[in-house]
């Protein structure tokens, strides 16, 4: 399968910054996959995300979206339509004063025909479970609801990849769950590839692939099981294990004979039950 996004050895330095934010990153995103990107603050996670839809263009190397180079001005809209991006603060992404008008913003920009916009807006709002609130004012919604509106606003472009830059950082636990469930449903039902940039290890567990960034490079890359088995390397980057894996690791340190690789509470419970049996 051809990757939908191909990142080839890119570097990027912010103006006036002492060192590069990205220092030779290569990464392929396959259609329909769920990739989590982890890393301490300043590791280049967000900078990488901004390269995926041509908000930033690399100083060297290149990024190809569906074969189109992001450095080319001509394909800009085609690239951004394919790679939707959602940021941390939902308040700063919502343009309009009514939920459905906001969701219509992107297809309107793309010059989609009015009847088709209506269909896309309704579909996008239904997908994130916000259809009932389509006539509400955004500032009266909860954080989780606002963030789902922001996701719907991107979905209305019918993107092939959804890049989420710490979408749950400003939300309470309930809002977090709402957003993650919506994202997971999208991937399952619509086959949208997801790139989730996050600080929460428990969110990364849901991914098919975990990429750990450190000082502008990819430090670890693999399945969640593979990445979260490297406890010491993660700790060196001041990253924790997911709660379940951390519990098992500590029990193992304490002398219990437990297998590695359980990342969810369910798998953790099963492993402990087996060890006690």
């Amino acid at each position: 399968m051809d990757p939908i996004i191909r990142v080839e050895n890119i570097t990027y330095t912010y103006p006036d910054a002492p060192g590069p934010a990205l220092d030779g990153v290569s990464l392929d995103i396959l259609p329909g996959t769920f990739t989590a990107v982890l890393g301490p603050n300043g590791s280049g996670k967000s900078t990488l995300a901004k390269h995926l839809n041509a908000i930033l263009t690399p100083a060297s190397g290149r990024v190809l979206v569906d074969g189109m180079d992001t450095a080319g001005e001509a394909d800009l809209l085609a690239i951004r339509r394919r790679v939707g991006m959602v940021f941390q603060n939902p308040d700063n992404q919502i343009v309009a004063n009514v939920v459905e008008d906001d969701v219509a913003f992107a297809p309107e920009n793309l010059g989609v025909e009015p009847g088709e916009i209506r269909r896309r807006v309704d579909a996008a709002l239904t997908q994130v479970g916000m259809y009932e609130l389509r006539l509400h004012a955004p500032h009266l919604l909860s954080g989780g609801q606002k963030q789902r509106v922001a996701i719907a606003g991107v979905l209305a472009m019918e993107p092939e990849v959804l890049v989420l830059d710490e979408p749950t950082a400003m939300l309470d636990p309930r809002g977090r769950r709402e957003v993650l469930d919506a994202v997971e449903a999208l991937r399952r039902e619509q086959g949208v590839a997801v790139v989730l940039i996050t600080h929460h290890m428990d969110e990364a567990v849901r991914a098919d692939r975990v990429v750990v960034m450190d000082r502008g490079r990819v430090a670890l890359d693999g399945t969640p099981e593979a990445v979260f088995s490297r406890r010491l390397e993660l700790r060196a980057l001041s990253l924790d294990l997911p709660d379940a894996a951390e519990l098992l690791a500590r029990l193992r340190d304490g002398g219990m004979d437990l297998p590695a690789g359980a990342l969810t509470p369910e798998a953790c419970a099963a492993a402990i039950k087996e060890a006690l049996a």
């Binding site: 951004r80 920009n109 916009i117 006539l135």
Partner: protein, 268 residues
Amino acid sequence: MLKDITLGQYFPGDTPVHRLDPRTKLVLTLVYIVAIFLVGSWGGYALAAAALAAVTALAHIQPKALIKGLKPLIFIIVFTAVLNLFFTPGEDYLFRWKFIKITWTGLDRAAAMVLRVLLLVAGTFLLTYTTSPLAITDGLERLLSPLKKLHVPVYELSLMMCIALRFIPLLIEETDRIMSAQKARGADLETGTLAQRAKALLPLLIPLFVSSFRRADELATAMECRCYNGGQGRTRMKQLHLSVRDGIAFVLGAAFVAGVIVLRRLGI
């Protein structure tokens, strides 16, 4: 106190007033404003008040919401009343004590001016209460679209207006938050001379400005991510169509203006 500002607030609904084309509402609001200035008799004010009450009821807007919106204007209203009450020349004294004199003409005029201000402001509030800001800007954009030929960036202006309105509640929230934070550090925003209080506002305004610029930056990026590239080639989900309803509204509006003029002529 800051939370009470309902200016630019929209109360979603599905009434005949809400469903009117925004262009109709904009034009009729303009007509209403002109008509208020044409009113020359108490009968005319009664007619305008009745029209306002009828539209308010039809739009299912709580009278409380209108009154709440008028509250911040209390200073202007009192000022208008006092000015007219005491400084209208005339001989038909109602009350006279040294240099203070109140005339019947003055009372009449003060009451008329206050009514005029109230009716004007309440009328424009009805527009913003029943029309989403996006619809207002949309309507304005279309009403002004002939100016595009003169290279006036009509779409960009309407988008700017829309975003400004969208961020009002956010900025109010933020101001409240910064105020609490500064008060928690001992800032005194409520006492002292005017100069002292103005100075005390600085630690409030600077963080507000900084965060607004940050917000603007993030919003611009988010808009780029959603393929914003100016007004060229843009379509609209909601097409505006004038319907029978708008025709009826225009007829009623014309009847209202005619009524005001007739009452003025008759002096009722």
